[in-house]
């Protein structure tokens, strides 16, 4: 992916840029809002990572608003020390697609970037999701593995759907909390792990190949081969 990072803190920018490059992405960087807006408007990127508070008179929210007015739909991830719910809402309302609060783990940032960057580009609704022999029918809301029906509860279905939509990508616990449960706080316990392991048990019972994999220090990933 070609990513534009707009971040004024030199140290944070350096390590984010390095990490993203190591993960195989091309990264352009701007140190203030004006340069960031100029780059974002004049070149094509797959993803923008914007700090909210920026020097140069143009902050992250302004950049997004300006781009959206110009019908630029590049996905935007906000990276901000402003953690209040209203701040998050402001960022998302302005046209941001995701919001990550500082301090953050790099694995979390990478997972979110990849989730945003590889979103299906076509607006055509997907009705079936498939990973290896696991199939998810969004219309009848059924889950089958190797043709065998697996009973899951509604929330487990949504959990699995989210994992499958991002098959091959790391999905962190916080992302699951936000996207599947719409919780914007840290439950301070391993509840998510318990939910995932229950789902895993249901899917893997009677099969020798596990599909949901735990990614150490990051989260989970669903993929065909182990």
């Amino acid at each position: 992916m070609r990513i534009l990072l707009v971040e004024d803190d030199v140290e944070v920018a350096r390590f984010v840029k390095k990490g993203l490059q190591e993960a195989g992405h091309t990264v352009e960087q701007a140190g203030n809002g004006r340069d960031g807006l100029f780059l974002a408007a004049s070149e094509a990127f797959d993803l923008l990572v914007l700090d909210r508070m920026l020097p140069g008179g143009v902050d992250g929210v302004r950049i997004v608003e300006t781009l959206r007015q110009q019908d630029n739909r590049t996905p935007v991830l906000f990276l901000s020390a402003l953690s209040g719910v209203d701040e998050r809402v402001r960022g998302l309302k302005a046209g941001g697609d995701d919001y990550l609060v500082k301090p953050f783990a790099f694995a979390e940032l990478l997972a979110r970037c990849e989730a945003l960057g590889r979103r299906p580009s076509s607006e055509a609704p997907v009705t079936r999701l498939k990973v290896a022999d696991l199939e998810l029918d969004l219309l009848s809301r059924t889950v089958t593995r190797a043709g065998k029906k697996i009973d899951v509860q509604p929330r487990e279905f949504r959990l699995l759907e989210h994992l499958m939509r991002h098959a091959g990508q790391v999905v962190t616990r916080t992302m699951l909390l936000e996207k599947v449960w719409d919780y914007h706080f840290d439950p301070q316990t391993n509840v998510i792990d318990v939910h995932v392991s229950r789902l895993r048990q249901k899917l893997d019972r009677g099969f020798d190949k596990p599909l949901i994999h735990t990614v150490r220090n990051a989260g989970y990933m669903i993929r065909a081969e182990g």
Binding site: P103, R155, W181, Y183, D186, Q188, T189
Partner: protein, 466 residues
Amino acid sequence: MAQGFPRSAPPRLLQSAAFRIALLFMGTFSAAAWLLVAVLWWATAGALDRQTIAAIRTDAAALAERHREEGLHGLIEAIEERLALDAAAETLYLLLDDEGIKLAGNLERWPTAIGEEGLWFRTRFDQDGVISEARVHRRDLPGLRLLVGRDESERVQLRLLLTEGVAWSLGGMFLFALLGANIVRRSLQNRMRPAVVTALGIAGGDLSRRVPLSDHGDEFDRLASTMNDMLDRIAALMAGVRSVSDAIAHDLRTPIARARGKLEESLATARTEEDWRAAVEQGIQDLDNISRVFQALLRIAEAEAGARRAAFAPMDLPEVLRDAAEFYEVMAEARDQRLETALPEHLVMVGDRDLLLQAVANLLDNAIKFTPPGGVVRLAARQEEGGIEVAVSDTGPGLPPEERARATDRFFRADASRNTPGSGLGLSLVRAVAQLHGGEVLLADARPGVAPPGLRVSLRLSDSLG
């Protein structure tokens, strides 16, 4: 406060709002007085004037009639009769012929007009050495010129008197109004002074000042008590900020010191790469914990400051609670506990979904953490008089009464729970959320008299927050 001083001096006369208000009042008052005088003038002096004119007109008409009926002789006779009858010497007549020779009347010569031109005019004449004013009507008869008039000296006198009276009273009124304006200004300033003095004290840094209330119960007292409420609120906010900074100072420094110590130690002692890696990972974990505590503190402060009222929206509480129960059910199952719910179908209230959810999550998390395997955790909600109660009860060891009061303090950990993971911020967030929703948190035994008694934490929320 550099600008504080010049503003604190009482305003000068013309700057004073009270004085301006009084002045305005005085203006309207004088306008009314002028109107009154005008009406009075028209009704008295004006009426006399009109009466005189009418009398002259009738008199002149009667004389003209006499002349037509009885000729010059009759006219002269009539004039002389009238003069003879006029004891007060108010009437004036003069009859001249074509050549200007006087035929009858008490005027010696044709008077010079000083007022209006034409048939009606005013004149001044000398009567026995006294200068008098008169209103005169001229009537031309065939071959004759007739003047009929009335002495107006008394009326002029009256008018003068009236003018003088009006002038004096208007002047007096102006003085009184000025005095009154000053008195109003002074008394308004006196009533406002306590508020001004208090505000100055507060601006100077003494937040404990309050505006004293008088027993009038008037607008000023209302203003004062509103101001006091506002000050109480500000003081509460300041206390909140202070307690957060205290909490940061006391309780965040410790984990930071611990993490720093550990890193420093491993720097000195780690030999293998594995050691290094373990130390760094431990350091990151410590930092994560610190930022988690920090986040929790900020959230509590946010809720306590009431800043999140903005996020208030109508919602159906049982839906939120069912979500939370479902979320934690797997936890309870994993620990071989049962999570029961007793929720009504609908319970509509206005609140902050996110914070309520987190509060209930904290309670469920606590209950599941402290209840032994095989126990029961119960989440219930019901409509009560004047509010909604959300209660989480468990069959755990409970909390001794002496520890309950402190349970919602920041960073409080019951002695028995020192070794359980957690920051000790859960219940203080619950309390802050309850307060934000106009309610409180109550702790009690879940099963009084039974050992272990269990703990029942109930969150009382007001449902009438708009």
